[in-house]
Amino acid sequence: MTADQTTPVLETRGITRDYVSGGMFGGTRTVRALKGIDLKVERGKTLAVVGESGCGKSTLARIIAMIDSPTGGELLIEGQKVEIAKRGISPELRRKVQIVFQNPYGSLNPRQKIGDVLAEPLKLNTNLPDSERRDRAMKMLLKVGLKREHFNRYPHMFSGGQRQRIAIARAIMVQPALLVLDEPVSALDLSVQAQILNLLQDLQDEFGLTYVFISHDLSVVRHVADDVMVMNFGEAVEYRSRDAIFAAPEHPYTRTLFAATPRINVDSIRERVARKAAARRATGHATPEPVST
């Protein structure tokens, strides 16, 4: 495979996905969850996909990670066409795209030691001897900021942030070209979120990883993305560079989304507090009596 620098790591052309529900009685209903998504991500870049629940962003993530197959359209990984339905996926292709999920508590096998979690992808994809696999797993464990003694522990002994580190480590064990991050920090506390975002940034710099970053949180997106795609009802309503989109959102939905996102800005807080005080003075009661009905 020639994956030179100019070929995008990921490209989709008109990806659609239909869900058929019902059956037996009442007839079937087809819901189009994705309505033709085109995107292109260059090596080492991060594409953020933003939207609210049900907008199709997770469906897109699963299709890119080759978990589900699209109903229509083309998916190209390093210029190579993916056709799950026709030919299945070769292990080589499967290896190239890995995924990290939102819920750190569901994404690790509760009955698998951390060392085995990390070594499993190597066992499935390479012919390395056992000792070499353990070696690499240990190295990766240390790289994502965990300790030597964590190797033989079970997932339930780790916090959410630590589990997310493990999930990320597992994903990059097989040196994928593309990492799909499906809301990787949404379940985490603010302080832990910052650590994970830093880790992802370091790994991207070190391995030249390409990210598709699914999120609903605009402040996180603004922090990580090179390009941003805003999705609504299965459609990409806006798809531009981060700076462009945050400077001047064009689509009405993007604007609604931006307007709804809470802003932390001392000036606007001051303004709000002042407004409230004024309103109180205007109605004439500093300590208003409850309205009785």
Binding site: A65, L108, L124
Partner: protein, 307 residues
């Protein structure tokens, strides 16, 4: 920033009101041991197992030996009781205690064999149905529905009527009847697990269907299956005894507890001990196993554990 020195800043991960993490084996074991009933059950069961293993050493008499001079002797502590027959004798002059001790062998073997048969076949069928879904699932589950549409004891009786009465046939019949419960349980657990993210992650890492089923999913379904296995163990003992009681299980003079009860029925008014003793043995065994089962259920079911 000096707050590091604050001795009261505990770890941020303590969440007293949140669900506890899924317990691994060792932690489960500790939790299980904290359950008084379960430990009692375990001790009783262990004693029963020892009794069964060392029956020839423990039993004061040969269980089939008929003492013609000692028919229907009451237990030793009663009037007319004889010290050599601690729990009395039956209508043929056989020592009841010795028969009960040997009977433990049958009950435990019945439980083990039935559960092994039902568990293995049920897991196999349920795993396939749950993992592949679609028409395979529908077909398998309809077959299970059919088996479940018949009352289990009736179906076991009819099966025994076809293949002939006897202990082994009774065990086969009970295994067939219990198997759908394992199949359904496995299927449900597999369906719940197979869409969890760790399974998807393993698939993305390149795991094959077989590996996903057996190595990834199955170990995480074992909790409820173990609980069901203990409950089935006690059910098997009860059903086998019922079949024996109805004359369709172990045949006389086998000292199987249900069969002993069947033989004793006619002495219900004259010699209560012949009726009482085997029943107590069944009850204690089943109770011990069910206590263990309850303890395991509380251990494996985090929902009930939260208090």
């Amino acid at each position: 920033m000096s707050a590091t020195d604050d001795p009261h800043l505990g770890t941020a991960e303590q969440e007293p009101l949140g669900p506890p993490p899924i317990a691994p084996w060792r932690e489960s074991w500790h939790y299980f041991l904290a359950n008084r009933g379960a430990v009692i059950g375990l001790v009783v069961l262990a004693l029963l197992v020892l009794t069964a293993i060392f029956a020839p050493l423990l039993a004061p008499h040969d269980p089939t030996m008929q003492y013609r001079d000692a028919l229907l002797v009451p237990p030793a502590w009663l009037e007319r009781g004889r010290p050599e027959f601690l729990l009395g004798t039956d209508a043929l002059g056989r020592d009841i205690l010795s028969r009960l001790i040997f009977g433990a062998r049958f009950s435990l073997v019945i439980g083990l064999v039935v559960v092994a048969l039902a568990l293995v076949s049920g897991i196999f069928v349920g795993l396939i149905a749950g993992y592949f879904g679609g028409w395979i699932d529908s077909a398998i589950m309809r077959v299970m529905d059919i088996i479940l549409a018949f009352p289990s004891l009736l179906l076991a009786l009819v099966l025994v009527a076809i293949i002939g009465p006897g202990l082994f046939n009774a065990m086969l019949a009970i295994a067939v009847v219990l198997q759908p419960h394992f199949a359904r349980l496995t299927r449900g657990a597999v369906i719940a697990e197979k869409n969890r993210e760790y399974v998807t992650a393993a698939r993305v890492a390149g795991a094959s269907n077989l590996r996903l089923m057996v190595r990834t999913i199955l170990p995480n379904c074992l909790g409820p299956l173990i609980v069901q296995a203990t409950l089935s163990f006690s059910n098997a003992i009860l059903d086998a005894a019922a079949l024996g009681f109805l004359g369709m299980g172990a045949q006389p003079p086998t000292p199987e507890w249900g069969t002993m009860l069947a033989e004793a029925r006619e002495f219900i008014t004259s010699a209560w001990w012949v009726v009482t003793m085997p029943g107590i043995a069944i009850l204690i065994t089943v109770l011990a196993v069910n206590l263990i089962g309850d303890g395991l259920r509380d251990t494996f079911d985090p929902k009930l554990r939260r208090s």
